[in-house]
């Protein structure tokens, strides 16, 4: 408050006038009202924490008036700030009204001072950041990079089953030959009927059908299968003829036969 404000009517110094004009001409150069306030605050040449907000408000309002006088179009936010500062100024100058709610002039002034200090701090931080060594300017990355080559590798797989099936296929290939009945390993129904007719007379009680398989036909699976089928078929034939009875207690249980009582 001790310094004469830049924009008061009675400014005398040519230097100050030039400064104020430069300010106005440069209005486009300001990054908004807060930036302008920060610039104005520098004219107080004090630590931002001790800045006189009232004085600052007056400087700002004077600047806006000057701009109006010079018919300079001011962006809306400059005018909003002007209105707010006028309100702040009245709050700071008038004694506080005990009946009124809301923040005091001092609180609002302190906040504005904080905002200015914070903006200034960010400006300095930005300057320090840009002053750091920078990649591609002061320090450098590897000039020639070896990009990771994407190698597409085909992995062939086969399971043990594939392997065994393949081998089985080869080893059995020879058997894909024209169909020919392999008599050596076939026990015909006629043979089975003959055999059973001869044996049935001796069978008193229920006897397992498998017991009627001929000797030498019950181990080799091929022969066993053939003999089992023909013996079973023969037993059905004998049952049909009324010579034997057939019984099976449940599915897959042993089939037993006995001579039908005459």
């Amino acid at each position: 408050m001790s310094d004469p404000s830049l924009f008061e009517e009675d400014r005398t110094s040519v230097g100050e006038r030039l400064a104020s004009e430069a300010l106005i001409v440069d209005v486009d150069g300001f990054e908004g009202p807060l930036d302008l306030l920060l610039t104005l605050s520098r004219t107080q040449k004090v630590d931002l924490r001790k800045v006189s907000v009232l004085q600052l408000a007056e400087q700002y309002l004077a600047f806006v008036n000057e701009a109006k006088a010079l018919r300079i179009e001011l962006a809306a936010d400059y005018l909003v700030m002007a209105a707010w500062l006028a309100f702040l100024k009245s709050r700071l100058l008038l004694p506080p009204d005990p009946n009124e709610d809301g923040p005091s002039g001092e609180e609002l002034a302190a906040h504005l001072a904080f905002q200015l200090e914070r903006l200034e701090a960010m400006r300095e931080a930005a300057a320090r950041l840009m002053g750091r060594y920078q990649l591609g300017r002061d320090f450098f990355a590897r000039g020639v990079t070896e990009d990771v080559a994407r190698v597409r590798r085909v992995s062939y797989t086969a399971t043990l089953l594939d392997l065994m099936q393949a081998y089985a296929r080869i080893r059995t290939k020879d058997e894909f030959r024209p169909y020919a009945f392999d008599r050596v390993h076939v026990f015909t129904m006629e043979q089975a009927l003959d055999r059973m007719r001869g044996l049935i007379g001796y069978a008193g009680d229920w006897t397992d059908l498998m017991g009627y398989l001929p000797d030498g036909w019950s181990h080799d699976p091929m022969r066993r299968r053939s003999a089992t089928a023909s013996t079973f078929a023969a037993s059905l034939e004998l049952a049909k003829q009324g010579q034997i009875e057939i019984r099976q207690s449940e599915s897959f249980a042993a089939i037993t036969i006995r001579r039908k009582a005459p």
Binding site: G32, E117, Y133, R137, F139
Partner: protein, 215 residues
């Protein structure tokens, strides 16, 4: 091919010696212009390797050399020693000059991250133009962070690894003067007296910063 196969087969049984792992990390980082994370190193190295330990040795090995091993966010990269920049006029890349608005916006995001557009505007006292944010996004220096859990769920901005790499920072914690600024309360999001709107944000904001400086 065959060699590769045997190599990785063998690795299933024993991890290479640490000296060998150091060589591997050296080779991988040398080959890449961008920082490589410890996880990526581990994925490329034989099973059982410990790239984090190898990095400790490697960093020491390159101390004071013409090329240094730098930690950049969660990645690692070799960079030439900054004092030798004068030899590199040939490699210097002319970067587009950033506007004052862009530089300030970048600094605000870096120091206040995660920061919303409203917060940036509150600090600068002026609207942030779309172009400014776009330019920083394009440079890949900032990216979108998590949305703020406040009414309107505004998006936030945070700085990227590319930013850290560009300015030779290990992490956002290493920003110059960060501690002093925080101690002075200049990173607080102090609300305008009588307005509660920003006050709500504050809790979140602090949470964000705490999170950043926790690890």
């Amino acid at each position: 091919m065959t060699e590769v196969f045997t190599e990785s087969e063998k690795s299933l049984f024993e991890a290479p010696l640490i000296a060998e792992q150091e060589r591997m990390v050296e080779a991988i980082l040398f080959a890449s212009a961008d920082p490589v994370s410890v996880a990526d190193l581990a994925a490329r190295m034989p099973h059982g390797s410990d790239p984090a330990e190898a990095l400790v040795y490697l960093r020491k090995r390159y101390e004071g050399r013409g090329v240094n091993l730098l930690r950049i966010g969660d990645g690692w990269a070799f960079r030439t020693a900054p004092d030798l920049g004068f030899l590199m006029q040939k490699e210097t890349v002319e970067t587009r000059k950033l506007s004052r608005a862009a530089i300030e916006t970048l600094a605000i995001i870096a120091y206040h991250q995660p920061a919303t557009r409203a917060e940036i505007e509150e600090i600068r006292g002026v609207a942030v133009s779309r172009g400014t944010v776009d330019q920083l996004l394009e440079l890949d220096w900032i990216r979108f962070g998590r949305r703020r859990m406040t009414p309107g769920r505004p998006v936030t901005f945070v700085v990227t690894q590319v930013f850290l790499d560009h300015f030779g920072l290990e992490s956002a914690r290493d920003l110059p003067g960060l501690k002093e600024l925080r101690a002075a309360g200049l990173l607080d999001n102090r609300p305008m007296p009588g307005s509660a709107a920003i006050g709500e944000d504050e809790g979140e904001e602090m949470a964000g910063q705490t999170e950043l400086f926790e690890d």
